[in-house]
Symmetry: C2
Subunit: 236 residues, 2 copies
């Protein structure tokens, strides 16, 4: 849709986004360490292996992924610098995501729980595959010098649409994960209105708020400025 | 973002959208009737009251809501006709959504299950409140003849952003609902890889696909045509 952008001060919104990422990251560490016993890669207490999963996927795919998406509008650098930051942050996001997903499988395998029976796991596999494919395709199209500018221009709206699609799936899937884990715990006796239940549900709400503000920046434009060319939001 | 629209044939995509809505509607009826025992408003079998909830919220907020969103691009009528269809479909969506949510509370109350302890319920309340507020505000801004065209132009990007926001929440929350219900059933002994589990998970996948295609139409443009003015995608 041409000219459907909301007009906002992207740097101000980005500040709220950074703050939310820090707050929810602290919350997920508090949850994993104080309520769920901490982390381990090898342990007889298999819960400690699982605990790596929400921390890595949330901080990787949702928070670093979100920061990567808004980097064109949130950072005061030249376009070529922001382009590098965009792709490096996404690369770190994918790596953390893969390790986080691996931790979930490791937990299942060592505890003899079947794999891939929930919609959370199905969507999660879809996300990491699409995320990695999108990253590789975009490296070729937007970084290789020989690619024609026509192909870049034609690819950009699809790059944005598919990127937003995968990102919305990642945010939504983290909420699915919170719900799933909390439902398991409540079925095992956890108080439905206790402090842990509220902590997890508020993490989910704040994660949705974070993702919403990221997309607000994507679909926004700033009032025009003199240095528009250097600071424009474009991967071309 | 100006000029970030993907170029697609909206009428073709809309055809797939209608087909998906029919397929998943049939699936949710099959699930509710053949696997879960059918429907009732008053019954000693409280499950029959609950069964109204997924059918009404999914068909209302997700499918009719989605059809309302794409109506500007999917229907071959004049703009004023499409505007009426847009607001009437959203009104029906809201009414079905309210009855569907009421059925969930009724089921909880009659079975003495606590209300509003899950993230699915919290987000659901947020959706129906925002959906209704957005509808009422939009009726005033885009329908009342006395409103200035400047206010309409300025409101339109926010109308689209908030509408897409609430719609993504509705699609995501239906997936949360499927996961929650299936987790409850599996904890009570339902086969994790049985036919019902696959039916519910595929409903969730198809619902996400439906929502994705709706948003593809929102963020698309068609090649220009001679009758562009009458058929443009604009609420103004």
């Amino acid at each position: 849709m041409s000219d459907m952008s909301v007009v906002i001060n992207a740097r101000m919104v980005a500040f709220v986004i950074h703050a939310l990422a820090v707050v929810v990251s602290v919350m997920v560490f508090v949850w994993s360490i104080s309520y769920r016993g901490g982390f381990a890669w090898e342990s007889k207490n298999k819960t400690l292996i699982f605990n790596l999963h929400p921390v890595l996927t949330l901080i990787g795919l949702v928070f670093l992924g979100g920061e990567a998406i808004i980097s064109y509008k949130s950072l005061p650098f030249e376009k070529r610098v922001k382009k590098s930051i965009h792709l490096v942050l996404h690369a770190i996001a994918i790596i953390l995501g893969i390790i986080g997903i691996y931790a979930a499988f490791k937990h299942h395998n060592e505890k003899h729980i079947p794999n891939l029976y929930t919609i959370h796991s199905w969507i999660g596999i879809g996300i990491i595959v699409l995320y990695a494919l999108q990253w590789m395709y975009s490296i070729i199209v937007f970084l290789f010098p020989r690619v024609s500018s026509t192909l870049r221009s034609n690819s950009l709206p699809w790059h944005v649409f598919l990127g937003v699609f995968v990102y919305v799936l990642a945010v939504g899937n983290s909420v699915l994960g919170f719900l799933e884990k909390l439902t398991f715990l409540e079925k095992s006796g956890l108080d439905k209105f206790g402090s842990e239940a509220f902590l997890v549900n508020y993490m989910a709400i704040f994660t949705v708020l974070f993702g919403t503000l990221v997309l607000l920046i994507v679909f926004s434009k700033s009032p025009p400025t003199a240095d528009e060319d250097n600071f424009s939001y474009s991967a071309i």
